[in-house]
Structure formats: structure tokens, C-alpha cells
């Protein structure tokens, strides 16, 4: 891989989650911060090893839900009481017990959707193009292999040291990933 394109980072490949976790532990001890792990399925503990804090998605859901509830309630109250008050079967204009259901449904709908879109946003998805995809063996990340990546942006990153550091963790392989133009 002799090319002048800028380096994205070094990628280490493992065949089981525990080796991966071990690797992360080492890397963090060594003071690397711009690191990430790539796994075929959510591996328990990895987040902790990487020191990720609680996901913000929950707030999207919360506020989405509240927005939904308010929309539902306001829409019904306004239309039934102010916009076109009609005597329906002698029921009061503000038949709030009947309104509850739609309020509930909209809470769920808005909460769910904003949660999903929030997740995509936080993950910067969709992102069909990514430097990592340049590495052929990275294909197996969605199948049976576990990868660990130290990005070039990391202040501690230096080609020789980092490379050797990764090699030292006995991975299946270490690859330099480039961000091809």
C-alpha cells in the first residue's frame, strides 16, 4: 500500500471478542483516545472498555414523545372546542377521556420516530462511503471477525510505534487503512 493518500488509521483484526476487549484495554492504557472497535454484533463490555457514556438517544425519544403528546392534545382540543364546536350525541365539547387515546398514539409515534432518526443522526448514518471499507478484510466485520482501529487523528499516533503496538497484541492481522481520494 504505497500511496500518497492520507492515512486513516491502523486496523487490527481479532477472531474473538475477549481478545478485542483486551486490545482496547491496552490501547487506552497506552493513552490512545481516537480509537474504535468494530464487531459483528454488540459485544457486552466493549462500550465500557471504550469508556462511552450514556447514549443521548434517550433524550430524542423523551422530547419526541412529549412533542407528540402536546400535538395530539392541542389538535383535538382546539378543533373540538374552538374551531368547530359541534354537539355530538350530547357529549361535552372537551371530551378529554376520548382524546386520551390519540394523545397516547401520537406520543408513541413521535417518540419512536425521533428516537430512530436521532440514532441515525448521532451515528452519522447513513454513511455508505467510509475509509474502512477500503480494507478488503474489513468485510468480515459483519460476519465473524472483530476489529480495533486507532485513527491517525489520535495525538499519540505515530506510524512506527502504533503499528508495533498493535502487532504486539497478537491480532490475526494489522492493516493500514487509507482514505483514498
Amino acid at each position: 500500500m504505497k500511496t500518497r493518500s492520507l492515512l486513516y488509521g491502523f486496523l487490527a483484526e481479532f477472531d474473538n471478542p475477549d481478545a478485542l476487549k483486551e486490545c482496547i484495554r491496552q490501547a487506552r492504557k497506552a493513552g490512545f483516545r481516537r480509537i474504535d472497535a468494530y464487531t459483528p454484533f454488540p459485544v457486552e463490555g466493549v462500550a465500557e472498555e471504550l469508556g462511552l457514556q450514556h447514549s443521548k438517544v434517550r433524550y430524542f425519544v423523551l422530547f419526541g414523545g412529549i412533542a407528540g403528546a402536546l400535538t395530539g392534545w392541542f389538535m383535538q382540543y382546539y378543533s373540538a372546542v374552538f374551531d368547530y364546536p359541534l354537539n355530538i350525541g350530547g357529549r361535552p365539547l372537551n371530551s378529554w377521556p376520548s382524546f386520551v387515546i390519540i394523545v397516547f398514539e401520537l406520543t408513541i409515534l413521535f417518540g419512536g420516530l425521533s428516537g430512530v432518526f436521532g440514532m441515525l443522526a448521532l451515528n452519522g448514518l447513513p454513511k455508505p462511503h467510509h475509509p474502512l471499507f477500503n480494507e478488503p478484510s474489513f468485510d468480515r466485520v459483519t460476519q465473524d471477525r472483530f476489529f480495533f482501529c486507532i485513527e491517525a487523528r489520535d495525538p499519540q499516533f505515530d506510524r512506527e510505534g502504533t503499528w508495533n503496538f498493535l502487532q504486539g497484541l497478537k491480532p490475526e492481522g494489522v492493516y493500514a487503512v487509507h482514505d483514498l481520494p
Partner: protein
């Protein structure tokens, strides 16, 4: 060849996803606009008629009262379109031989009605009654616009239900004294709101709760 997509696709894909939300909102609003546009409501659309009858000339020019031709307007649900006879009352003498009036004379001669094109039309399941509106002080102008400025007739208002409701919900905004109903370009001497409220009282106009009953217009 691992990399399937070009870098640009990132931007594109993101735009499509989050853009779609905006699109949905936009479409709703645009649609809301379209169903109110003259294209749909035929508001302000001039219709050509078998005889180019000019309200401008007859109303503004000659100062003929609406009721001279639209005889039913005070006593009947329908204002009524004048019989050929009414035209001939004058046009026996006036413009007795103008080419444009030939269809009128023809109609009178061989007793064949003139077929006009309807301009102000409400759906058939709407039962509008001119007499009561006139009686409660709704001016011709309020719904039909400045007819005295229409060389050929067009629809001045959308005549959509929401438009009707404007007045049925707050008549005071539109009413005028009975004697001014047939006046064109009338201006309220005192602020419309005060006057309106007086008129609503004096003319015993029903409260909105009743005027917005479905059966007031639909049977």
C-alpha cells in the same frame, strides 16, 4: 473492490433521509394552497356568455337596480336569472337592431331560452337561500363582489364552506343595513364591528351556534 459507494453518496443519502421529512410537510402545505387556488375554485375566472352582458354597463352605467332583473332575490331562495322578456322591455327600443343582441331577439322571437353559463355555483347539496340573507343585511357585494365593475361576470369569492363559515361564525363582520344591501361599494359610516353588532341585535340574527348547524345549509 470493497468500497461500493463514492464519497458523495454520504451527503446524498443523508439529504434524502432527513429531506423526506421536510418534503412531507411541504407537500401538505402546498396541497392546502392548491385546493384554495382559483384554478380549483374558479374564483376570478371570467366565463364567456352567449350574449356579452355587461353588469358594469347596466349597474354602474345605467344604474339599474339588481332587483329589476333578479326578481326573486327578496322572496325566494333563488335570485333568478331574468327571462328574455325582461331584456326586451328595454331592448325593443334601445339597441333594437344591434348585432350583439341578436341572440336575445332570436330567443324572444322563436321562444327559445338563452342558455347562460353559470358563474356563482355552490354544490348541489348546499341549500343557499337569497331571501333570508338579503333580509338579514348581507349585501350583494359581500358575496358577488363589485358587480358594477365587471364587464363580464366572474366569481368574486371562493364560495367554499370555510368561506361561508367566516360569516356564519361572526356575521357582525359583514352585515350592513337592509337599505344598503343593493348598494355597490358601500362603506360603514361607523366602525363595522359596532355597526355589525347593532345589526345582529336589531335584525335578530341567529347566534353562531345555530348558524353553524349542518342542517342550516345541508338537508
Amino acid at each position: 473492490m470493497p468500497q461500493i459507494f463514492h464519497r458523495s453518496t454520504n451527503a446524498i443519502s443523508r439529504f434524502t433521509i432527513f429531506g423526506s421529512l421536510i418534503v412531507i410537510v411541504a407537500v401538505t402545505l402546498v396541497w392546502g394552497g392548491i385546493i384554495r387556488a382559483p384554478y380549483v375554485t374558479e374564483q376570478d375566472v371570467v366565463r364567456d356568455q352567449p350574449v356579452p352582458f355587461s353588469h358594469e354597463h347596466h349597474v354602474a352605467g345605467l344604474g339599474i337596480d339588481c332587483r329589476y332583473c333578479h326578481t326573486g332575490v327578496e322572496k325566494s331562495p333563488f335570485a333568478g336569472v331574468p327571462p328574455t322578456q325582461v331584456c326586451m322591455n328595454c331592448h325593443k327600443q334601445v339597441w333594437a337592431d344591434s348585432a350583439t343582441l341578436e341572440p336575445v331577439r332570436a330567443s324572444f322571437r322563436d321562444n327559445r331560452p338563452i342558455v347562460w353559463t353559470r358563474v356563482n355555483n355552490v354544490a348541489d347539496f348546499v341549500y343557499f337561500d337569497h331571501s333570508i340573507h338579503v333580509h338579514k343585511g348581507v349585501g350583494c357585494e359581500t358575496c358577488h363582489g363589485r358587480v358594477d365593475r365587471m364587464p363580464l361576470m366572474w366569481k368574486a369569492e371562493s364560495l367554499r364552506m370555510e368561506w361561508c363559515l367566516n360569516c356564519h361564525r361572526s356575521p357582525e363582520k359583514y352585515l350592513r343595513p337592509r337599505e344598503e344591501v343593493f348598494t355597490m361599494g358601500w362603506q360603514p359610516p361607523i366602525p363595522q364591528r359596532e355597526l355589525g353588532l347593532q345589526l345582529v341585535r336589531n335584525y335578530k340574527v341567529d347566534p353562531p351556534q345555530k348558524l353553524t348547524n349542518c342542517s342550516i345549509c345541508h338537508r
